[in-house]
Assembly symmetry: C2
Homo-oligomer: 164 residues x 2
DNA sequence: CCAGATTTCTTTAAGTTTCAAGCAATGGCG
DNA sequence: CGCCATTGCTTGAAACTTAAAGAAATCTGG
């Protein structure tokens, strides 16, 4: 019966409300900011957030990336990227070609026009973000960075433990 | 020219990269956790995250809420809620009736079955969240709560300044 | 009372998103 | 070489999401 009581001790209803509240607050913050950025992007540049995000990924890598790379970086499904890229190629923002060393692979890059347009948007976007986080002191920012890094690591560990 | 130089001083290209990096990290964290929760909900209960979230809102208010209330709380559009509710009524989780004092208003509540199913899911959900945030100390949690509250206030202020 | 404004919800179109299934190309191994 | 597992991407179905326009009920100021 010792084992039994020990087992019970571990399974006793613990106090997890704080973590739950933290998660809800994290989600609220992100949703709030995301909505704000989304509506500014639409209003100001008539562009959607996913399009902007995709272009942001590509802007960092002039030589281009494969669809899989994009999909991993954006943490969205492959099929999602296929559709997004389709529309961005259609609108002339992206350039897409099949890799010559591996014909399964599609390499996409920003076109000249796409890059120019993105840079313009990105410059304003950065100001919006600075404004949105405007009440935080540099110390707050550092501290949040640190705690979110820790959170990310913790979440990744938990995901990995379950089997990715 | 004093005014000019003062103006310039304000408009000098400032250092906003930190805020941008913070926003990206915040977004990464949330996306990561959201994806994890989403896939556990599907795997374990074959339910989508939006359905779960909607039921979570309703669980807190046994007498029910209007669609507008839900839409505000979840920070999603009205049309979105209309569709979600439709499917959840269809599946027997929700009960919907027209208010008698205002015939524009639809009041929705969890059905008995819906509530029972939600409670079961919520119990496990809370454990997942605790696990996902498992590396954070109680102090980390408190500090994150505080900083995210500040962030939320700042973001709301910025949104309001633009005109909601 | 009643005309216009507002609120609540639905509808529509376009786009985003996931998951699962499928296809094509590659790479490894016997 | 030839099988077959893997990888990269696309497709298809269902769901989710938004913005915008519309319909119905209510409220408000004259």
């Amino acid at each position: 019966m010792t084992l039994d009581s020990e087992t019970k001790a571990v399974e006793l209803p613990e106090h997890h409300g704080d973590e739950l509240r933290l998660w809800l607050r994290l989600l609220t913050c992100t949703t709030l900011i995301e909505g704000e950025v989304r509506s500014r992007l639409r209003e100001r540049f008539d562009v959607t957030l996913p399009r902007f995000d995709l272009m942001a990924q590509l802007d960092k890598v002039p030589e281009g990336m494969t669809l899989s790379d994009v999909s991993k970086r954006m943490m969205v499904s492959n099929g999602n990227v296929t559709g997004l890229v389709e529309r961005l190629v259609e609108s002339g923002h992206l350039d897409r070609r099949t890799s010559e060393v591996d014909r399964r692979v599609q390499v996409i890059r920003l076109t000249k026009a796409g890059r120019a347009e993105f840079r313009k948007m990105a410059a304003e976007h950065e100001l919006w973000i600075a404004d949105i986080f405007g009440d935080l002191t540099p110390k707050d920012v550092r501290e949040l960075m640190r705690l979110l890094a820790k959170t990310k690591t913790s979440a990744q560990k938990s995901a990995r433990a379950r089997g990715d």
